[in-house]
Amino acid sequence: MKYLSEYRDAELVHGLIAKIKDITTQHWTLMEICGGQTHSIIKNGLDQLLPEQIELVHGPGCPVCVTPLELIDKALAIASKPDVIFTSYGDMLRVPGSQADLFSVRAQGGDVRVVYSPLDAVKLAQENPDKEVVFFAIGFETTAPANVMSVLQAEQLGIDNFSILVSHVRVPQAIEAILCSPHNRVQGFLAAGHVCAVMGFWEYIPLAEKYGIPMTITGFEPLDIVQGILTTVEALESGTNQVNNAYIRAVTEKGNQSAQAVINKVFEECDRKWRGIGLIPGSGWRLRPEYSKYDAEKRFQVETIQAEESPLCISGLVLQGLIKPDQCEAFGTLCTPENPLGATMVSDEGACAAYYRYRVQEPDSRETGS
């Protein structure tokens, strides 16, 4: 396929892998931030091709995985109400809340629908004036422009039966949280290309300086990822701690400024709880007060719903890159995609799900496929 197969070219990938092997003199731990990158690495077996000294750990950039339990409980409460059409990106339906998931709500008669864009939800609201249409606005910076556009469009069209349940999270604050952790062992980051396509990488430059760590803006295809790894290893080997852009076909330093402008018009910064990690100050976005009439939490009075994760769940360690999915005792035995015990096994972009689907499945078949 044009514009895609070029970035999956085996010869070029192997050429870059050979370069990585040539320049690597010691063990380096790199973290890819985004779940889409984790998926691509495991699906294509890129880590099998890398030299042993390059260790990839998987970051918290799966929006489905990090959406806090109480937000899911709020979603379930809203979706269960009569006269509500609850819309969501598909992979959110399987994520368990405290008692149920959106699939169960649908099985019990709730009107839960998968949409491909929040603007489809606005259209649904227009077509169903006697219903309340709610969109589950989760995600990182990547989905924020479309999510805020849905609010602006509803406002422009005078649609009053539309609201969004917001659980937006931001990457730079998560990177800083990982770097501040006393357990941190990440030495270089592959930053998420599509987040930077929206936001640019100007926010990462002071982070790289402050913590003395190289970061490379990296895409998602095999060649992009291997290029991102090579650039990061080059920086590590030469001791230059700066931000490099290995995804120039999509990302500039300033990013998409009109997208940033609409985000800032509708959203404001807030503290946000991350599932499996905890509260990260300033790491979220919520609706500004002037748009509060589109806030589903307020409209359906679910603001007070609280939920606590069991302290025994270790998906937080996976999300912080402290352990690999298959180092969990429950992995592949008690915890599988159809019976997920933690959020990282639920989403297709979750690290545990990626390992399960493409790699090891049971302790006795762990060598399979290598």
Binding site: N44, D91, G139, E329
Partner: protein, 354 residues
């Protein structure tokens, strides 16, 4: 580096949701949830040899040496008409193909209709004419039927359930449990057309692909294949759940490892592009006019050649082979030279967020 799994009193996480109390959409996806439902709910009380064989059609001996293959399929599709076909054609071809996948010659079909109050009769007429055309092409007769009407809102327009009967030549033993190490894996054409065409017709894509469903009766293709080889070990039509699910079932039934070469898997650019945009894998997308054949190594070239001479097999290609291990697993050699598991989907295939 952490070399040890953090200690846990017991591996308890807070959130199990196994959906064992209510039916959810995932139970009909052709993936792991459906497999479990069949194994846990249907097999134990209904068990018999033909059912437990787990093939597309059940095979029974009626008098000495005479064997019948019987298959049944309920068809629910939205929309009722889509590029390349409609629910009528689907209901005939789906059952004809299931009967043919054990090597039987499909002969007769029954059809049950569940009609929603308010359905346009001219629409029903169109569907029935389409069934007639499909039955003629397949060379089968629809010899009995049933009609029920349910109240408005209790069905989505029209559901059709068909049952097919076919006769099986003596000596044939085509089953999911017959794959043997060394066998070659052949697919009769490009994968994923039907699933993406229906998604598009449903208005779910948001872009145009001009794809047409591949619905077709495959019994004549299978007759042609059987005319040149007695080494056809397994036949399966990769419908719901796609090629990945069909091959996983075969790997489990035969306790073999099946290896596919990613570079050899035939997919139209439009299907590949739609899958990229939605986060789908073409190996899991439904087909309605394709078959997977597992054929003895020696006969594979002549079977392939014969397939390519037929209308529904002209794009047939070899996509992999059977090995003795790892038993029960489907694996894919990627274009980059690494290997990964291709598993059954857990439940529904869901579009990814970004």
């Amino acid at each position: 580096m952490i070399n040890k799994t953090p200690e846990m009193e017991s591996p308890i996480c807070p959130l199990p949701r196994k959906h064992t109390d209510k039916i959810v959409q995932g139970h009909g996806s052709g993936g792991k949830m459906m497999e479990d439902l069949i194994k846990d709910i249907f097999y134990p009380p209904l068990a018999n040899e033909a059912l437990l064989a787990g093939d597309d059609a059940g095979v029974v001996e009626i008098t000495s040496g005479r064997r019948l293959a019987v298959s049944t399929d309920a068809h629910v599709v939205s929309p009722l008409f889509f590029p390349g076909g409609d629910i009528g054609k689907l209901s005939v071809c789906g059952t004809v193909n299931d009967v043919a996948m054990v090597g039987a010659k499909p002969l007769y079909l029954s059809a049950s209709f569940i009609l929603e109050e308010g359905l346009d009769i001219c629409l029903l007429e169109k569907v029935v004419l389409s069934m007639k055309d499909a039955a003629e092409e397949a060379g089968v007769k629809i010899i009995c039927g049933d009609t029920k009407v349910v109240a408005h809102g209790e069905a989505d327009g029209l559901y059709i359930s068909t049952t097919g009967v076919g006769e099986l030549d003596p000596g044939l033993n085509i089953s999911g449990n017959q794959a043997k190490p060394g066998d070659q894996v052949i697919v009769s054409g490009k994968l994923g057309d039907h699933g993406i065409a229906v998604l598009e017709a449903r208005g779910d894509l948001g872009f145009e692909t001009k794809l047409v469903s591949d619905i077709a009766p495959l019994n004549h293709l299978i007759s042609a294949m059987l005319s040149v080889s007695d080494q056809i070990h397994v036949l399966r039509d990769p419908t719901r759940g796609g090629a990945a699910s069909a091959l996983n079932e075969i790997a489990k039934q035969s306790q073999v490892g099946i290896f596919l070469e990613e570079a050899l898997i035939p997919v139209r650019p439009a299907v590949a592009a739609a899958c990229e945009m939605l986060g789908f894998d073409p190996l899991y997308i439904a087909n309605e006019g394709k078959l997977i054949a597992i054929v003895g190594q020696k006969d594979a070239p002549k079977v392939l050649e014969k397939m390519r001479q037929t209308k529904y097999g002209e794009d047939a290609v070899l996509i992999g082979q059977v090995e003795d291990s790892p038993p029960g697993r489907l694996l894919l050699k990627t274009g980059l030279g690494s290997t990964r598991i291709v598993d059954l989907l857990a439940g529904e295939m869901l579009p990814r967020i970004c």
